[in-house]
């Protein structure tokens, strides 16, 4: 059942086209809504079990011969993600019912992709087997590709879809490499088993390589610096998709991966530096560039990039807990808690903000922030939701974003004083980055909400007359906004139910008995909104607010600074250069150079390859042998025949006239027949004589109609290559024949025929009996081939192209 639950969305998707086609009066979304609703209630039943620390495991054998099975493993982390996927999924489907018009849109496409994504994402977070994890991982990339390109008639949608696909799939392939390395080192594909032997893995040779490869997968998926460039372009997707895939779930797959592999890799210094460093860099970069954007969804995209960086940095900091003694009593235990907490908070406030951006787009016809303004009085409900979401994102109380932002600052303050890995030198830099990024987060949050909803209404700039959204469309963002407030007031309940089990999955070694409230090894974290006047976090927050407010009010003056960056120096330009310059044009040129349509050249490549492979194999297997043992004696007339044969062949090579060449070929043919006579093959000799006679007659018939053999111009390099390839093939054949003659590795099977030809087949002429009896079918097909050739010849002679069809 547990494994089946993953696939329920995919099964449901089968019925979507039918429903869409035949039940046109009801929006297809209402049927789809049932699926995530069912699933979310199913996963809720697991909460109490997982809260107590009981992991739930179910498996289904998929490819037993390769030892690949679907293992659904639900611990705190997986369950939290599963609930997010199905919970946000429910809200998003509800929202999409009002967002997508049932008469104008291809709803069946949309919902099939969406359900496919749901299955893929559930698979990613529940798979214990790394190969199935990888498969689901790529399926999320594919469904994301399809959803971004949903409005496929738009150029930008297709471009964005391709870009996201190229980057995330490339990352996925790196990740697969990392998985395979890890499995080779640990001897198992099961993540749980790998975690169990994590200390031994540390000393393996390829440990760091596997680590980096897996991180590449996580960073591309979670839009970390410098791979974030696909996420802004992915905003071409319908807004429900942006809210679902590109802020709440899919981009968090990378976060999930990092969290899941923390117990294996955290002991490595590289891991701590990479995850923390890239996370902070992304946080800063995303927040800086969010202010530059003029598209509402563009702001949110960069803000998502930035927030993902924040979570990543926290996970990196949480890994330090593996490097200090008595970790349970240091502040690093907070980092993992804060990461998960912020992940939940981000899903709530960013989900609601995306939906509001969609509503604004839907009701005014534009997402350009320069045209928007003054919508507060027209869309009061949307404004309220947007305000709650933005203030939470900015880190203001009384919203959940404040709590996790405080914890983030705590973690960064702790890092500052950390002694290991020279953090004490660099730590202050990390804190500065964190604070600057928070200031800009504050600025873009205000920028988003106030530029849209306050100020002067520019009614003439808007394509539509603005009005408040239908209530159905507002339900989903309102639910999320309410959660934003509720979580602020009950953070410790959320912590006990959802976060602590997940934290235990990230840092299992820290706690002996995490779920008993009285035990010393439990996860002892409480979230507090008020730290007291003496706490540095408070003053940092105040500082962020003040600087942020100043920067926001003077935004118009310094926003121009962004124009300084030339477009050619961006990562987007690099991507375009690789895709268009290197891959597209470069590969076209390369294939034009090699595949220019000349069959002769292709043949030459093939002959050269055959020659290379065969001689190479002979060399590699040390098979060059010349042995005279068992060789038949050479007789005089055989030598004469050889001379005739060589002369005949030479004639065909150098002949200037057609008839000479044909006579040369005939001479070779008759000589071969004589060889057959000499080597005790009378049947062959007879056949060869007959066939050769007919062939020569045929040649002479046709030759009458063919033009003279002129000397045809060949350019010199080709002549040399042609000669080299022919000599190579000749040498190869000679070597092969010598090698075959000189070492008989197995006994000939001809004894079987000799023994049975009379008793089994009742014949004396072994060759004939083999042909008509032992290999009768072969002979039958041979006759068929001959018949086909005859029919072909007849058709070619009889059929004529009409004058019109004639090739010019």
């Amino acid at each position: 059942m547990q494994v089946l639950a993953i696939f329920i969305p995919l099964f449901a998707a089968i019925f979507i086209p039918l429903l869409f086609r035949h039940v046109r009066t009801i929006h297809t979304g209402w049927f789809v809504l049932i699926v995530p609703l069912l699933l979310v209630s199913y996963y809720v039943t697991f909460i109490s079990r997982v809260m107590k620390g009981n992991d739930v495991l179910a498996s289904f054998n998929w490819i037993p011969s390769l030892n690949i099975s679907f293992i659904s493993y639900l611990d705190g982390l997986s369950l939290l993600f599963s609930l997010l996927i199905t919970g946000i999924g429910t809200l998003v489907v509800l929202y999409s019912i009002f967002y997508l018009d049932k008469t104008k849109e291809q709803l069946h496409n949309f919902y099939i992709y969406l359900l496919m994504f749901m299955t893929a994402m559930l698979g990613v977070v529940q798979s214990d087997h790394m190969i199935t994890l990888y498969l689901f991982w790529e399926l999320t990339s594919i469904s994301s590709f399809l959803l971004i390109g949903y409005w496929f008639q738009r150029d930008k949608s297709r471009f964005g879809a391709l870009k996201s696909m190229m980057i995330t799939v490339a990352g996925g392939l790196f990740m697969l490499g990392g998985f395979v390395l890890l499995a080779l080192m640990g001897g198992t594909y099961s993540i749980r088993e790998l975690i169990a032997q994590a200390p031994q893995l540390m000393d393996e040779q390829y440990f760091v390589l596997a680590l980096v490869l897996i991180l590449l997968g996580a960073f591309t998926k979670s839009a970390q610096f410098p791979f974030y460039i696909w996420l802004p372009d992915a905003m071409e997707a319908p807004t429900p998709v942006s809210a679902y895939l590109h802020s709440a779930t899919m981009v968090k797959a990378g976060i999930y991966l990092v969290a899941r592999f923390t117990p294996i890799f955290a002991a490595s210094e590289v891991w701590v530096w990479l995850v923390t460093g890239i996370g902070l860099l992304t946080l800063l970069w995303g927040s800086l560039f969010a202010v530059k954007q003029t598209d509402l969804k563009g702001i949110l995209a960069f803000s998502t990039v930035s927030q993902l960086g924040l979570i990543m940095a926290l996970l990196g900091a949480s890994a330090i807990a593996y490097h200090v003694e008595d970790a349970a009593n240091t502040m690093f235990k907070y980092a993992a808690f804060a990461a998960i907490f912020h992940l939940i908070n981000h899903a709530t406030f960013k989900g609601s903000l995306f939906m509001i951006a969609g509503i604004v787009d839907h009701e005014t016809g534009t997402r350009d922030i320069r045209k928007l303004g003054g919508l507060m009085s027209i869309m009061p409900l949307s404004f309220t939701v947007a305000l709650i979401g933005s203030l939470s994102m900015a880190g203001l109380p009384p919203f959940n974003g404040f709590l996790s932002k405080e914890m983030f600052l705590t973690a960064m303050l702790t890092l500052k004083d950390f002694e290991l890995f020279e953090f004490s030198t660099w730590g202050i830099l990390l804190l500065i980055v964190a604070v600057v990024a928070s200031v800009f987060t504050f600025v873009y949050s205000f920028y988003f909400v106030f530029k849209t909803f306050t100020g002067k209404l520019q009614a003439s700039e808007l394509p539509q007359k603005p009005h408040e959204a239908p209530i159905g469309m507002l339900i989903a963002p309102m639910i999320l906004a309410v959660l934003v407030v509720i979580i602020f007031f009950i953070p410790n309940l959320v912590g006990d139910v959802f976060i602590k089990p997940a934290v235990f999955a990230i840092q299992p070694f820290l706690y002996q008995d995490p779920f008993l409230s009285s035990s010393p090894g439990m996860i002892d974290i409480t979230v507090e909104a008020w730290h007291g006047f003496k706490s540095p976090e408070l003053w940092l927050t105040v500082c962020i607010f003040v600087v942020g407010a100043i920067l926001f009010t003077t935004l118009g003056k310094w926003q121009k600074l962004y124009r300084v960056q030339p477009a050619k120096l961006s990562f987007n330009a690099l991507y375009d250069f690789i895709m268009d310059g290197v891959l597209n044009r470069g590969m076209t040129n390369l294939s034009k150079h090699i595949m220019h349509g000349s069959v002769r050249h292709y043949l030459m490549y093939m002959f050269a390859a055959i020659c290379f492979i065969v001689i190479g194999t002979l060399f590699y297997k040390d098979a060059f042998r010349i042995s005279f043992k068992g060789a038949a004696p050479i007789e005089l007339y055989q030598l004469i025949l050889i001379i005739v044969l060589v002369l005949g062949t030479l004639t065909t090579l150098i002949a200037r006239s057609r008839i000479t060449a044909i006579v040369g070929l005939g001479a070779v043919g008759y000589t071969v027949a004589l060889f057959f006579v000499m080597f005790n093959a009378p049947d062959l000799a007879l056949t060869q004589l007959v066939i050769e006679t007919i062939s020569v007659a045929l040649f002479l018939l046709v030759f009458y109609h063919l033009p003279r053999l002129g000397k045809m111009q060949e350019y010199t390099p080709f002549r040399f290559r042609r000669l080299a390839v022919s000599i190579g093939i000749g040498a190869m054949v000679t070597l092969l024949a010598l090698s075959a003659h000189s070492q008989k590795l197995v006994e000939s099977i001809n004894k079987y025929y000799k023994d049975t030809v009379y008793t089994e087949a009742g014949g004396g002429n072994i060759v004939n009996v083999i042909l008509v009896d032992y290999r009768g079918f072969d002979t039958l097909f041979e006759i068929t081939v001959l018949g086909l050739a005859g029919m072909g010849i007849y058709a070619m002679i009889k059929l004529r192209l009409s004058r019109k069809e004639k090739i010019k």
Partner: protein
């Protein structure tokens, strides 16, 4: 004898490939003819050229030639005849329609490469 035949086969193959890579249709066809001769002799040589009698059961004969390569070659001779005949007529018809037996000219451009 086998050693000598190995070189003969190699020579036949070399000539065949050289002709097949030329531009004239007739030379290409002659090349395929040589190629099949070479292949037949190669199979025979690889099987061993010993044996004092044809592979026919007869009183008092025990050392006869290996029948298996012979059976293979017999099939191959017939097939190669079919192929040769087919491409000969193909060349003839192509010449009639296109007024050239130059494969490069058939491609449409004057000089390949």
């Amino acid at each position: 004898m086998e050693i000598v035949m190995a070189f003969v086969c190699g020579f036949l193959f070399m000539a065949a490939i050289y002709l097949i890579l030329s531009r004239s249709l007739l030379r290409i066809i002659i090349g395929t003819g040589l190629l099949s001769h070479g292949a037949h002799l190669l199979i025979l040589t690889m099987g061993g050229l010993g044996g004092t009698a044809p592979p026919v059961l007869a009183e008092g004969v025990s050392d006869f030639a290996d029948p298996i390569p012979q059976a293979l070659i017999l099939t191959a001779i017939v097939i190669s005849f079919g192929v040769t005949a087919f491409i000969l007529v193909l060349a003839y018809r192509a010449y009639q329609e296109l007024k050239t037996d130059d494969t490069t000219a058939m491609k449409g451009s004057g000089i390949d490469d």
